[in-house]
């Protein structure tokens, strides 16, 4: 009998799990452990509304603590899990009050998300006697508030990392009046699983706002100077003076606390297509990689909607024993006011076609295909056509998905 479910990680995926466990009628105890002091908040808003300064931290809140209490969810902020002991079925936290440091479970859901990757040239603190080069990273609300405070008119801001997050930060910093350089090692600007296919579009958006883009440029060090505060140094010997340096070099699943648990495979937390990791252990969101039944490979989550859907999937499984379909990836972004929406398995595409809009205009809708099948969609400023095409895409993918699902379980 499962009488007590412990969810570790109180953000998108963990919250969705806890809520849906209740929604599906579970009457036992639900404990939600969160390392941060904040109530659960919308992480995607950090690089958008929070950096832009259009939202106060309160507006990013996903749910009030009182709502969680009303749902009978025992939310414990400021409780970081440090170990799991599967024999005694307990999670140990860093909270030292008697009775709260060891939490017993019948089932545990790991939803600890990811942490920003800190490149080797961006250490927390420099060698002795040197002021630490303050290279920022962005993952938490505290990170975002710290960076927002630095985005002052005319400051020179260097964003290192040419993925979606780098583009979003460059866009927000520009809107705050900073002079922005966006630099990175790769040959172009990437858009998530679509890779470099939209690099020209992204370059055009940045060029229109005077963001200097340097690709194929590897940063090797950041050093304090007398003039602008820092010198960003590149492998080819060139330098870039900057007042603020922000690294957007990707994220790593936050699973180090599970190192001696026996749950990791080569350092990764792998789950099946329904979030099951081991007996009584489940995983959801950015911490985990679920088995994609369509490709037979494990796929990292990385997006808010996927994290929510995985949480609901495990919630229904735990509370009602019900299996849910594998969540189809979806993400969105906002870069210099352009709204991007993307759906499906963009990484497996072998061709891309224009479905609506125009190659040269800011409005365009692209269909991604793998062989004879549609596998994804990317829309630039075309929300309504995206909605209509997405409905058709999801119907096609779920038909294919249930076929794959039958194969998997037969």
């Amino acid at each position: 009998m499962i009488e007590r479910i412990v969810v570790v990680g109180a953000s998108t995926a963990g919250l969705a799990t806890a809520e849906s466990v209740r929604d599906a009628g579970f009457r036992g105890e639900v404990v939600l452990l969160g390392a941060e002091q904040w109530d659960p908040y919308r992480r995607p808003a950090l690089s958008k509304q929070i950096l832009l300064g259009t939202w106060k931290p309160d507006q990013a809140r996903l749910v009030e603590a009182s709502t969680l209490r009303a749902l009978g969810i025992d939310f414990r902020p400021g409780h970081r899990a440090v170990r799991i002991d599967r024999r005694s079925r307990t999670v140990q936290t860093d909270h030292h009050a008697i009775g709260t440091d060891i939490v017993r479970y019948d089932a545990v859901v790991i939803a600890t998300g990811a942490s920003a990757r800190r490149p080797s040239w961006a250490p927390y603190s420099a060698e002795a006697n040197r002021p630490a080069p303050a290279v920022h990273v962005l993952r938490t609300l505290d990170d975002a508030l710290r960076i927002a405070g630095q985005l002052v008119r005319r400051r020179r801001v260097t964003v290192v990392g040419t993925g979606v997050l780098g583009s979003e930060i460059a866009s927000a910093a520009t809107a705050r009046g900073a002079r922005v350089s966006l630099v990175g090692r790769s040959a172009g600007l990437s858009l998530g699983a679509a890779g470099l296919r939209f690099s020209d579009r992204l370059r055009a958006l940045h060029a229109a706002r005077d963001v200097e883009v340097r690709t194929g440029a590897e940063v090797v060090a950041v050093r304090p100077t007398d003039g602008p505060r820092y010198d960003v140094r590149f492998a080819d010997g060139t330098r870039l003076g900057s007042d603020v340096v922000i690294a957007a070099a990707g994220a790593e699943p936050a699973v180090a606390w599970l190192a001696d648990s026996g749950l990791l495979t080569d350092g990764s937390l792998l789950a099946d297509s329904h979030g099951r990791v081991a007996d009584r252990v489940f995983a959801v969101g950015d911490a985990s990689s679920w088995l994609d039944p369509a490709t037979g490979t494990h796929r990292a989550c990385g997006h808010q909607l996927t994290a929510m859907e995985q949480g609901r999937s495990v919630g229904r499984l735990l509370a009602a024993g019900q299996l849910s379909p594998y969540p189809i990836p979806f993400f969105w972004s906002e870069i210099h006011g352009a709204r991007v929406q993307a759906s499906g398995r963009l990484d497996i595409a072998d061709s891309v076609e224009l479905l609506a809009g125009d190659h040269d205009s800011d409005q365009a809708l692209f269909g991604f295909r793998a062989g004879d099948h549609a596998c994804g969609l990317v829309a630039w400023n075309m929300p309504k056509p995206f909605r209509n095409h997405q409905a058709a895409l999801l119907a096609e993918l779920s038909a294919a998905g249930s076929a794959a699902h039958l194969l998997e379980t037969s």
Partner: protein, 63 residues
């Protein structure tokens, strides 16, 4: 029951319109518009479903 939407959080994904086009619509930028903030009892499940499908959690359903 009432529905509230946070338009500044909306990302124009239109999931809400797909499940309940009598409760939600999208403006020309794709942002959600609430058609019915106080829906009939038999639309409560649809409203809840829209809220749970919204990728930005921009829809709140209150008792």
């Amino acid at each position: 029951m009432t529905i509230e939407v946070t338009r500044s959080a909306c990302v124009g994904a239109g999931q809400c319109v797909l499940v309940a086009d009598d409760l939600f619509d999208q403006d020309d930028d794709g942002l959600v518009m609430l058609i019915e903030e106080d829906p009939r009892e038999d639309r409560v499940d649809s409203a809840r479903r829209a809220a749970s499908l919204c990728p930005a959690r921009a829809i709140q359903v209150r008792e």
